[in-house]
Subunit: 500 residues, 2 copies
């Protein structure tokens, strides 16, 4: 083998892997968005076939020999090539630790679990959901044991998706948050509540909500020829390359704010994928580097931009024009207060910034319990409801608004939840850093958000997966990550809103 | 090799081919429906990869040896197995006649041509369209020459999609039609025209049109868990297996009748795919047998059912309820007359039953000319417009309503058009046969269309591709195909409507 043959072989096989991922990704996206319900079984068979091919490619001997050869000659490679080889070998190591049959079986399971979840949520049927979720968690735990037999499985699971993340770090992070958020929330709840009655008891038709979503996509500069919007039960973002990014939303006719923040949140994810450097496109590095850095971008757009006063003032005239009767006599300030009202509620994706981390904490603790065996899938309903009582002080009236609300576990996103809280905290520190050189409020007020996006592109987005997550983040911050930026932000914000 | 090993290998490889077709099909469907425009290049690369795998499988030596072995032992096979082997070898023979690079290149070309057509139609830009259509036709002609060097390429092309069809048969068919339709149309145009002014100059919002589409899908008994509806510039139907069928429509706000007949027409295609026998599912036989038998089903639903008086009376109350202002004071009879108004128009998909075959004739003659070299792609605009002047007596004002109107050529459906006219004629004879045992008008009037669907399922749909197209049709008819059923139907219908 020489450098040229190794390079050629590696490139060829990486392109094949990319094509297989693309095809599987579109099948899944189609399944989540527009496919008829009975299509799940047929899709499962085809996804199994494609994942078998992926497994065979990742564990292909010639490819692996080429990768090892290239790694031994990394001084002769470009930065991108060297990193591609490194990430390929890291990801492949996990795959190779699992027998092909189990690897393919898990893809089939995910496809089935997603279909089960959709029906279970619709029918409020926890009993249908529990067995499939047991299978999902059992499989993930088994995979972690095979991959890293000497480490705690949940550490392994988190580390797979977020290189370097552990329970110890995450526990410490949540302890910092709890210590500040719980007393702050208590103080807020002692004050008179924000009046958001103007949003209630009204009907908001879908068509103008669609038009509003299109408008918001323009405001946050999503290029429509490279980014589409679809509708799903649970909003998400996916991408197949930097020219093909998809966000989804859910239009709730009782409240246009739900879709509004889904669009801005998913739009934040999409902006990241749309701005990875062109030279990374089609490589294994052409993607957001990790879950929590991703959530750092989406939560940044959703909260630090989307819930700011100048942003609400910017978009309110359009909202009012689309729903003239519903917003008659309402001022922008009222909407700004309403979208920042802090109170314990049932649904994570609708939660305010203050209680949001508590929703995530519930899920994080449950995942830990499912991994260490202290929680059983069959008990999830009871455990979930008890934790909502404990942390948020509310009763869960049904599982649709309880343990069945999120799509994550059923689509294989196990170990993902902590990244929402981490991302929120990253975002706060990014905002503080950005404000040193960008007048963020003035930029938002101007309606041209490009200076904000350019800052993020230059410091985070363009790198894709070229470096490890914390390297990228802490280079952007020019400082170590510190969750106190987040708690300081919350304290300052809610003190102002509630006059604490 | 023994029977069991040959069987196992054949089944395994056929399942792989099915999975590859499924993945490629979903990518294409996604590309036509919801993908962002800039996704075309990335999709082209992945489709090329998948088609390369398909090529390798179809021409795989072990698979072909197994197929030949099985064919030699066909007495020991089930009817389905034997037919699968036969059809596989027939389709593979075409593939194997083409070098892999050209086979894959054509898939890439189709993907590119589809993107070019979308933009060209939007921008009324024939100059952008002509070169890519030249490539599409050149490639198809070259493939036909490779496959059957001794036959006329257009005969080969038609035969690929419609086993047994030739120019000689098609010419004779159109001659029969022309001889009756042209004088009939002349007589119609001498009479006072049907008044459809109540449909003009009004605005029909998309939302109630969507609801009407859902209603129509229920009326024609499309099971929604196995069949979805999407929106595209040009309506079409596709399927991935009998549990996953997709129709699309296009909502035109100036006229709800366009989407109405798109839904019923595509619904006819979908019904066929949804009712192939379950034991054919996932095999190469689990699909409608040919283009014109397919059009026989879709045109049957669209015209013989959908334009019948009892059908209009059945659905009119719903239409009126959804558009109360637009249909105020209108009676069902007026709509029935309006949807059966015969006059030369520009758009094939909006044409009445009488002039429809002339639209198809224009395209058929152009395809013949492109294949034999008497028409050049660059002259398509001029030739198209001249033929519309000759056959329909109208001037084409722009290419969007002229040569750019159909998506077929740009998506590789070359040689498809004749099947629309053939299918219409098959449908007329099927109707006559059905009426011997089913009181079709009474069934439609009852609102429960199942007896009609059961008749078609039992005589046509369930067979999938288990037998050759004309075998299935003529068994259903218990007689040879005779286009005079179609011309008799037209004469009777338009004599009644126009009082000839």
């Amino acid at each position: 083998m020489n450098l040229q043959t190794a390079r050629t072989l590696f490139r060829e096989k990486m392109d094949e892997l990319h094509a297989l991922n693309h095809a599987g990704g579109v099948l899944q996206y189609d399944g989540e968005t527009v496919a008829p319900r009975a299509s799940a079984a047929g899709r499962g068979r085809t996804l199994a076939y494609l994942s078998g091919k992926t497994y065979e490619l990742q564990t292909n001997r010639a490819l692996n020999e080429a990768a090892v050869f290239l790694l031994a000659h990394r001084d002769e490679l470009s930065e991108i090539e060297a990193r591609e080889v490194e990430i390929f070998l890291r990801e492949k190591e996990f795959t190779a630790s699992i027998p092909q049959e189990e690897y393919v079986g898990y893809v089939t399971l995910q496809n089935r679990a997603s279909a089960v979840w959709h029906r279970a949520k619709e029918e409020n049927d926890f009993a249908a959901f529990a067995p499939v979720i047991r299978e999902v968690f059992d499989t993930n735990r088994r995979f972690c044991r095979r991959y890293r037999p000497d480490e705690a499985p949940y550490d392994v699971q988190m580390g797979r998706f977020e290189h370097g993340l552990t329970m110890e770090k995450t526990d410490a992070f949540f302890d910092t948050l709890k210590a500040r958020i719980v007393p702050l929330l208590k103080k807020v709840l002692e004050k008179p509540q924000v009046d958001d009655s103007f949003l209630r008891g009204k009907f908001f038709p879908v068509e103008p909500q669609r038009e509003f979503a299109e408008y918001l996509m323009d405001v946050i500069c999503l290029p429509r020829d490279r980014c589409s919007i679809g509708e799903t039960e649970h909003p998400f973002t996916t991408h197949f390359n930097r020219d093909d990014v998809r966000i989804t939303t859910h239009y709730r006719t009782e409240n246009p704010v739900y879709s509004m923040y889904s669009v801005i949140h998913e739009g934040g994810h999409a902006l990241y994928e749309l701005h990875t450097a062109p030279e990374l496109n089609g490589t294994i590095l052409g993607k957001g580097v990790s879950m929590s850095i991703h959530e750092g971008q989406s939560r940044f757009m959703e909260n630090y931009i989307g819930r700011s006063r100048p942003f609400i003032e910017l978009i309110f005239p359009k909202l009012q024009a689309l729903f003239p009767a519903q917003f008659a006599g309402v001022r922008a300030e009222q909407l700004w207060l309403a979208v920042n009202k802090a109170e314990p509620t049932l649904i994570r994706t609708q939660a305010d910034e203050l209680t949001y981390a508590l929703h995530v904490l519930v899920r994080y603790e449950i995942e830990k319990g499912l991994f260490d065996g202290s929680v059983q899938a069959e008990d999830l309903q009871a455990v979930w409801n008890a934790k909502y009582r404990e942390y948020l002080g509310i009763e869960v009236p049904d599982d649709r608004r309880g343990v069945l609300q999120d799509s994550h576990w059923s689509t294989g996103y196990v170990g993902y939840f902590p990244s929402y809280a981490l991302g929120s905290a990253y975002g706060a520190q990014l905002l503080a850093k950005m404000k040193q050189t960008v007048d963020v409020d003035a930029v938002v007020a101007s309606g041209d958000l490009r200076p904000i996006l350019a800052w993020l592109e230059d410091r985070i987005w363009k790198y894709g997966a070229l470096r490890d997550p914390m390297d990228i983040l802490e280079s952007a911050l020019e400082a170590p990550f510190d969750p106190r930026y987040f708690t300081d932000y919350l304290e300052e914000k809610y003190t102002r809103i509630y006059g604490l």
